[in-house]
Symmetry: C2
Subunit: 258 residues, 2 copies
């Protein structure tokens, strides 16, 4: 045993003594001690999340099961909120630099789910996306009209409206079944003063989000609107045609909308 | 002082004793101890990096100074390598699903700097991007021809070539001054067997990367090439026209190429 190995061994014993002494008092569980596999796991989930957020991984169906704890911590432990707020700061600095035309045709597009109002509470019951998409479960949740506002996005929304932008809320939610409750949900969360809430009508049923939303934006462009910005939690909100002068991708590691 | 505070205080003393005893032996510096501001700082830098990688923050000139240590740790502490390797895994699974036409026109586009060969060693001297872009400094580095291969990307490159794809290396480097040394650098790092190395000629001088690279890809499309994939560390590698059937964004939190 050389000096270095001895020092290392002594350290290990010391840590063990320390953990044994204080684990009861602090309520911290020393076992399993932080091991390489755990660290590797978080590192893997961090790589997975980056790849998802950069649109490198597409059409994924569920969060990798080993990332359940990681995504839960990300979503409700503070970092998701910080990421959203940082992004909103960036959007606001862009907004503040815009010289409005003043012709009433300056527009912004905001997605609804997990952009303006949050489904994190619902997704908690779906293991933060480790369970596959459940259309009827999600519909039942949406029907409650209880999705809370994402605070920073409500602030951005208010800023846009008061600055004179026409704000279009564009969602893939079905108009027939969810139109009324979505209108009410947005209203009860303070999203008041938008120009139009656009939901998916029968004509767009079965269409992918990129095609559907491109079509909607095309119509707005044809009406003469200048789309200054476009905010969504899905890449499919921001791809295709007439995407807007700037697009902003909010984080969402819980699900993928094709 | 209640029990909890006492326990906490005792823990702190214990940790201090531990650090004092072993810091010399291990070479670890116990001061400054991890404090809340540092943790908060890491959270900010994590938000900043996500925003950069998702193309939400654009035309940024330098890494925020408070993120120097964070970016250094990211780049050389293992997570950058893991993110790159994870992404390459995704690319390979896409590659494996491609049915080549077999007409010799199946193409891939790879960027060069920080896609195939790495400038991390150079950027260490530029505080990992906290210092502003230094054209002559970078040129001097590039002239050494000593950029090492990014190992996983060399593996991907070899796989593409051996699978029958025509690989085009497309770089914003100036052909006149850096053509020779870039050819040699790629060669000495094992990038052998590509179809063409395309550098920036006088005709494209001063053009933004999106326009320049779109033009190059347009020419390849006109020659009849089908661009299956396009890999770069900059969004400007992957935006514009003829971007390819799939694009893949490698991480790079050190600099932004407009």
């Amino acid at each position: 045993m050389n000096i270095r190995a001895m020092v290392q061994r002594t350290q290990e014993v010391f840590i063990l003594v320390y953990l044994t002494l204080f684990s009861k008092a602090t309520g911290l569980k020393p076992y399993p001690k932080p091991s390489l596999p755990q660290v590797e796991g978080a590192a893997f989930c961090l790589s997975w999340r980056l790849a998802v957020e950069t649109d490198n991984v597409r059409a994924w169906r569920t969060v990798p099961t080993q990332c359940l704890r990681y995504i839960e911590t990300y979503m409700i432990g503070g970092q998701y909120d910080r990421d959203v707020d940082f992004l909103i700061g960036q959007i606001l600095s862009y907004v503040n630099g815009i010289a409005l035309s003043g012709d009433g045709m300056d527009a912004w597009i905001l997605d609804v789910d997990d952009t303006c109002i949050s489904n994190v509470f619902y997704y908690k019951s779906k293991r933060y996306g480790c369970d596959p998409y459940d259309p009827s479960g999600f519909k039942a949740w949406a029907m409650t009209g209880g999705c809370p506002a994402i605070p920073g996005m409500l602030g951005l929304f208010s800023k846009l409206v008061s600055s004179g932008f026409k704000v279009f809320m564009v969602t893939g939610r079905d108009e027939e079944t969810l139109g009324q409750v979505t209108t009410e949900n947005l209203h009860n969360q303070g999203f008041v003063g938008y120009e139009r809430l656009i939901l998916r009508t029968a004509a767009y049923k079965g269409q992918g989000a990129v095609a559907y939303k491109s079509n909607i934006r095309k119509q707005l462009a044809e009406e003469g609107y200048k789309i200054w910005g476009n905010v969504g939690d899905q890449w499919s909100d921001l791809q295709g045609d007439f995407v807007g002068n700037r697009t902003f991708k909010l984080p969402n590691p819980m699900y993928f909308v094709p």
